[in-house]
């Protein structure tokens, strides 16, 4: 098991759908696979996928049309980016900074590295 990314399975599936929306594989206002379709495709329990869809609906990423299934919200990409920004700033950044401090990397060094990265 990969413990570094040990999020609950339903959240891992939510990340996957988020990736697909950001990359354009799932289009805005396009249809999302049904719970059973996705469950069979990724070999995960349907109740877990249903929980993912419930969560994404609460986050305003997908919405349901009665009898037709789930669709991507018009502003889904913005919502996902905002959510990921928050997650990064609150959780992962903290871990990253701790590592930097431990080995003594200065803010200037970090800035240089990041600027270099953005150039390529």
């Amino acid at each position: 098991m990969n413990f570094k990314d040990n999020k609950a399975i339903y959240l891992q599936i939510a990340d996957r759908i988020g990736d697909q929306i950001l990359s354009g594989t799932l289009t805005t206002e396009g249809k999302v696979p049904s719970v059973r379709e996705l469950a069979a495709e990724i070999e995960v329990n349907a109740n877990t996928v249903a929980r993912t869809y419930e969560y994404l609906q609460q986050c305003g990423v997908i919405f349901t049309k009665r009898g037709l299934g789930y669709f991507v919200c018009p502003d889904a990409s913005e919502k996902i980016i905002a959510m990921r920004r928050e997650q990064l700033m609150q959780g992962e950044m903290d871990y990253f900074f701790r590592q930097l401090k431990a080995v003594g990397i200065t803010p200037t060094e970090l800035q240089e590295k990041y600027q270099e990265y953005l150039k390529c």
Binding site: F3, N6, A8, I9, E43
Partner: protein
């Protein structure tokens, strides 16, 4: 749907009860994992659920009908895939045509679809005795799913399957499962099936130590590397340091590691029991 009611069972009156007043319920729409050590009574419990053994007292009911009565309407709604079995020396087609009439919802199209999932769709005229043990298991699983019984019980279904078929088996379950069915998978190979379960039932020394949904486990327990100040219910050394099972903080949701959950439950049954019986935070 399937209720185990005050079930007491013994193989031999001189050795005491294997199960004593066991009660729990299995509901439609769920895939249950029945976990337990060797000799913990998993197969006996399965046989009782299917009406193959007679309890000393109590009963197992499917929609309020005692399964031990073995009524046709009950038997046509339960399918058991045992760990070890023999298939007759017939062609697959003949086998299906002889056995399908016992199951009113059997679908030949479904069987073809499930055989395709196992890459065995090519030849329905194949002689069953010419198949390897693993192939026989695939054929029986495809037939079992195609009966569309509401109760499907599998004893160690992934034993003897090769590496690609573990994923195919998961596909079979996620494709074949519907809201009106209940599946129960008894296994030691927890890694093969962990993501297709939505409910775990842990049996030890003839007692149900834990019977909880994965969602419930996720909200009550965390599976992660050890942190300072942790009071773990279970610790396991690993290359990344100690991994622990601890009560989850609010908002902490980690993926359930069934192996660690099982070990934690066996090592610390009282603490787990207390945690799961407490009202949710």
């Amino acid at each position: 749907m399937l209720s185990i009611n005050d079930l007491t069972f013994s193989y031999n009156k001189h050795v005491g009860d294997l199960f004593h007043n066991l009660s729990f319920e299995l509901n439609a729409g769920n895939v249950y994992g029945l976990l337990g050590k060797n000799g913990s009574g998993k197969t006996t419990l399965i046989n009782l659920m299917c009406g193959l053994l007679t309890p000393k007292s109590g009963n197992v009911t499917l929609d309020d009908e005692n399964v031990r009565a073995r009524l046709p309407k009950t038997m046509s709604d339960i399918f058991l895939v045992p760990e070890e079995f023999d298939l007759p020396n017939l062609s697959l087609k003949r086998y299906a045509s002889i056995n399908a009439p016992f199951y009113p919802n059997f679908s030949m199209d479904d069987m073809q679809r499930y055989l395709d999932i196992f890459d065995m769709g090519g030849d329905i005229d194949v002689k069953l005795h010419s198949l390897s043990m693993g192939q026989k298991k695939k054929v029986l699983l495809a037939f079992a799913f195609a009966t569309n019984t509401r109760v499907l019980i599998m004893d160690e279904p992934t034993n003897g399957l090769d590496i690609p078929s573990k994923s195919q088996f998961r596909k079979l379950v996620t494709t074949g499962m519907t809201d009106d069915k209940m599946m129960l998978i008894s296994t030691h190979q927890v890694r093969d099936i962990s993501e297709i379960l939505d409910h775990v039932t842990i049996l030890d020394q003839s007692k149900v130590l834990l019977n909880a949904s994965i969602a419930d486990v996720t909200s009550r327990l965390a599976f992660r590397p050890m942190r300072e100040g942790d009071q773990p219910l279970f610790t396991q050394p690993s290359v990344m340091g100690s991994l622990v099972v601890v009560p989850a903080d609010p908002d902490e949701e980690t993926a359930v590691d069934l192996e660690m959950l099982f070990n934690a439950t066996l090592q610390n049954p009282d603490a787990i029991n207390q945690l799961f019986n407490a009202p949710k935070a």
